[in-house]
């Protein structure tokens, strides 16, 4: 009975015609020829422990995981002083403490929670990570690296681009010509230049234009560049949502005597943002991965840190580079997949009333 059902299922879904049957076999062949060798390399024949490159040398050995284990601290914090790393940990734990209740819809006091996340927590994080205040030793941004920098760039980009993007989107649809023009010029300028150019200008060219004696931190310059760049993209996503809101909604809000900001805040934006959640998350994920570009201006984000640790001759092995990149891919995937799944969850929840 169950065998019959299985055969039926197979026949209907995988072998419904000779063409589909051929495709199924082809895909199975590709999976078969790619997955087992990879697993063999990454797990079965991989080296799991060792003190240096010698452990990973020799014929038939797979991934060199001890290289990852030995450098985990570097991948996470860069050259942030080891004895002060608890401050980074604490900052991100406090962030998680604010983020987790924020993400669970049932937990109350969302407004306070949001205030903590976007106002109080960034200040706490700056104090903890940068230090340089009474009782806290300062740590230069040159020493920051690894996942720390990736998260700082990504979080700054995400937190700054969301409100900026909404304002720009509203500005672009505004009836005031000056604001509209300025918004259009801003958006089109930042969308028209590649992020690499923005970072390069911020890091290399800007110091040449600044008056003598003015010094801006390299990381800060890049953060501003990333925030402005991503807000332009966010603005266009939000504008798409605004255009999807029927005209009747605006008119009804006006008819009720709501002001512009009341109309936008209570009627239009909630509907507009809900419909563009996939686009917003798409932008966030793109931004998260774009943070790897800061490597070209001498900041060592997670991927950059993985690459630079490969130049340590005490860990130079044939498999070193592949191991490092597989590990990096895994870490990026975990973050991006997490964001993606949460967006699916939110979409389902917010659209509960509209499921047809």
């Amino acid at each position: 009975m169950t065998v019959n059902a299985a055969v039926k299922w197979l026949k209907r879904n995988l072998f419904s015609s000779w063409w589909n049957g051929a495709l199924t076999l082809l895909v199975l062949y590709i999976v078969w020829s790619a997955i087992p060798p990879f697993l063999d390399w990454a797990i079965v024949h991989a080296v799991w422990s060792g003190e240096g490159r010698e452990a990973c040398l020799g014929p038939g050995k797979g991934a060199c995981w001890p290289f990852i284990f030995a450098n985990l601290d570097q991948f996470a914090y860069g050259r942030y002083p080891a004895e002060l790393r608890w401050r980074v940990d604490l900052a991100f734990l406090l962030g998680l403490a604010g983020l987790v209740p924020m993400l669970i819809p049932r937990v109350p006091a969302k407004l306070w929670n949001l205030g903590y996340l976007v106002v109080a927590w960034p200040m706490i994080a700056i104090v903890l990570i940068a230090g340089d205040r009474p009782g806290l030793v300062g740590v230069d941004t040159d020493l920051w690296g690894g996942l720390l920098v990736t998260l700082i760039v990504a979080i700054t980009g995400i937190v700054a681009s969301f409100p900026l993007g909404i304002l720009l989107a509203l500005g672009r649809r505004s009836e005031m010509p000056v604001i509209r023009t300025l918004s259009i010029v801003f958006i089109e300028f930042w969308r028209g230049v590649p992020l690499v150019t923005v970072l390069f200008m911020a890091s290399v060219m800007l110091p040449l234009f600044l008056p003598q004696g003015v010094h801006l931190d390299n990381l800060l310059r890049c953060l501003v560049g990333v925030a402005l760049f991503s807000s332009a993209y966010m603005a266009e996503v939000v504008r798409g949502g605004l255009q999807a809101v029927p005209r009747g909604q605006y008119e009804a809000a006006r008819a009720l005597g709501l002001s512009y900001w009341q109309t936008m805040g209570l009627i239009v934006l909630p509907q507009a943002l809900r419909s563009v959640i996939p686009g917003i998350v798409n932008t966030f994920i793109g931004l998260f991965k774009d943070t790897t570009l800061v490597l070209i201006v001498g900041l060592f984000d997670f991927l950059g840190q993985v690459r630079i640790q490969l130049s340590d001759m005490h860990w130079s092995t044939p498999q070193g580079a592949a191991t490092g990149y597989v590990f990096a891919a895994l870490v990026y995937w975990v973050f991006c997949f997490g964001m993606s799944r949460y967006s699916v969850f939110m979409e389902k929840r917010l659209n509960a009333g509209q499921i047809r």
């Binding site: 014929p59 340089d132 201006v297 060592f300 001759m313 092995t317």
Partner: protein, 375 residues
Amino acid sequence: MARRSSLASRIFPFVFGLVVGAGVLYFFLPGPPQGGKVQTAQQPGAKPQPGQQGPAQPAGSTLAEVRARGYIQCGVSTGLPGFSNPDDKGNWTGIDVDFCRAVAAAVFGDASKVKYRPLNAKDRFTALQSGEVDLLSRNTTWTMSRDTSLGFDFAGVIYYDGQGFLVKKASGITSAAQLNGATICTQTGTTTELNLADYFRGQNMSYKVLPFEKNEEALSAYDNGRCDAYTTDASGLHAQRLILKTPDDHIVLPEVISKEPLGPLVRQGDPQWEDIVRWTLFALIDAEELGVTSANVDQQMTSASPEVRRLLGTEGKFGEPLGLSNGWAADALRAVGNYGEMFERNVGTKTPLGIPRGLNALWRNGGVMYAPPIR
């Protein structure tokens, strides 16, 4: 019950406001005035002095700036094994890094007063020109155009590099002269290809080149047996040999076919700073010649040899014209050891790289490392 809760609800906003207010106040507080920042000892408000940027500046200003700032900004590479790379504890290591430390020790008596700025090949000159680094110690080849038209001064040569060949031991090739008719893997679009053509034409030998866009691709093609030899700078060959499938089956041929003298460089126009960098390098080489090491530098202070005494500052006042203490060289040696120690520790035959001294041996031992005397 109700009264208590109303009391609590009256006190709560007050306490909350107090906490938030204190937090905001703390956020905007400046750091302690002398508060040592980690590694850099930078004061929160310390701005670079005017005149830092641009190549033209009065003599001696770099040293004054470095002193006021409290550390040296040293440009290093973004990871070249043995020259400048971070280890798995996060510390920078390598010959180029050790040289930064030596200069810091000569200036401050403390080798840790360096801030490393990893620079890629594109940014390195801009960074030195704009004053972001005081010293570029980043495997940079000393060429005439860089020295003259870019506005830099090279302080000397810390490593004599050159384009070399990597071949399989099994091939029986032991000298570049036996490469007639060989297929050679290399990276395209660099001077490597030109040098190759020049060399084989000069030797009247034939060869086939298999060019690749990226170094890694060329190396993996060589590893997979598509070429007989792989060529790039010898220092890179030794490092890249380590990531071949079986490193011990390959050797780096002893000959080099181009001159790539790598050395530290500074901005033109500050002779004093240039002298400090140059003579720190010379002192490290002289010390090897005189047998002064990091281990025996303190005993050698009382040496009978006048050359050693002048080097270590127990005789004469050789630090003064540089604006340094007379024990400047002793401080540098105590921190990083002499040139030979630096070489052996970072790239020498006892390290995985296993680079023989070759051209970088002292002139007395068949190399070309030669430093003017201190007197």
